[in-house]
Amino acid sequence: MRKRRKWSGFQVTLVTSFTALAAFMLLPIVFILNHAFKPQNELFLFPPQFLVQNPTLRNFESLFLHASNATVPFTRYLFNSLLVAGLTLAGVILVSSMAAYALGKYRFHFKALVMSLITISLMFAPETVSIPRYLIISGLGLNNTYFGHLLPSLASPVAVFLLIGFISQIPNEVIEAAKMDGASHFGIFSRIVMPLSVPAIATISIFTFQGVWGDVETSTLFMQEETMRTLAFYVNSLISGLQNSVAGQNMAAAAGLLMFLPNLIIFLLFQKRVLETMVHSGIK
């Protein structure tokens, strides 16, 4: 009912100018995609070519070969990254939504204190306190374990903050009704709160995954064994210092795509979910 009427002149101009802008925003992504498949000679062509002419998989090949010459095979980094990202994603969703449910829907002692701690810690940058963090991790004996990757990212005040906003918007009547019907706290949480906050959960999944996937801090500081480090660390050590050099540019190009692609996949997966849920469920 609204779509015919809304295709007005406003929308037509909007779509046109927006498309141009969006295309501009997408340029670097297109570049990453193309760059990764360029053969060595095209990488240094003059005048520079934006698009790839003779696509090749050579760059990926040399990236994998470069890694397998080292003591740790490339697949090990990949496995670590996938495992850490998967566990962290699941962990953050569960832990944060549990905390947000308690904070968003109930009143209890210390709630104000916890809330203000969370709000203050939103502006916390882990980079600034890496030394104390390292001391704590090694004090707990979490060096060179997957817990060392996982636990620090479970403390995600941003996720909790975002979820509190959404969960507190769920009408109290729904929860009261469920209580009347004899649902337990866990039942309310898993059957009502979680499904209703899917949009927020999708949003936090997107940025949590990105954070973990691109994170090099845990690998650098908490992991001393090379076998426990992640792909991001490997790629980062590969690219760093390439700004003014020629050698290794091809591997960097392939690695760039490799770091970008999973983010894109997760985003596409979850963003769809955000919109679908929003459209189908009539909840405010």
Binding site: H35, V129, I131, L135, G214, Q243, L257
Partner: protein, 323 residues
Amino acid sequence: MNTGLAPNIASSSSKASIRTKLSRFGKQLRKDLFCYLYLAPFFTCFMLFIIIPVFMAALLGFTSYDGFEKLHFIGFNNYIVLLTQDVIFLTKAIPNTFLFALLVGPGGYLLSFLFAWLIHQLPLKIRDYYTLAFYAPSMAGGVALSVVWIAAFSGDRVGYINRLFLKLGWIDNPVIWLQDPKYLLTIMIVVSLWMSFSVGFLAMLAGLQTVNRELYEAGRIDGITNRIQEVFYITLPSMKPQMLFSAVMQIVGTLKAGAISTQLTGLPITPSYSGHLIINHIDDYAFIRFELGYASAVSVVLLIISYFIMRFAYRLFGSKEEL
């Protein structure tokens, strides 16, 4: 500590009333036990990896510590040096951060809302593609994008920007963009603005979806005639939590930005400190000079600055009815 949420009975100061108060308190704790259980896993990690490290950093700020020797307690010396003698901090890091934050913070925030709102005006079917296009830069992340920056801002004729500007005749010779103090901060600001459609942008989009459609109908009946009015009287008030959230994220992102200069130039310290932000200053002292005590003092100052900006944001979004 604020425990005033529970209804307290105004009580006389006799012992009995203290005891009843305590037992009430215990009873409430038991009644709310599941709340604490739900909170526990998050809160444990939160304390361990955020709150305690911050306090440790605050303590380190009062010491002279290089990571190897014993630490010496030196009182406020770090702060005194920082605010009176650290020329690079005072003449480079502070003005750079201020300029950077002022342009990237509010600028990125307004642009995020503008584009989120415009995307929301589009037909549902094509919205996803535009969201993707705007979100892509921040999604690619630093590691992936450094490949792009290396190619785009390359100092020779092969660089895309040089090539384009030479062709247009704006410059006569290739410019070494990233090593030139004249351009570096500008480039950092442009790049950051362009990457600023991140979590906050997504939250705004999600917030726009939650605005009750009937409100627009009701607004039209109440005499709202154009879209600008709709935005100010209906959209913004309905999505306040998301607006506050993205404001906070924008502030945090801006103040802790610092990696961008390193990714652009490939140097831990930018040429003649032209792109030196407070975070770079911390990294410099912590991981290059290993003056951990001093670095902690700088990060405490940064935390305090961001705390006050945050207070300002809360006041801004809390008090006014429109925003």
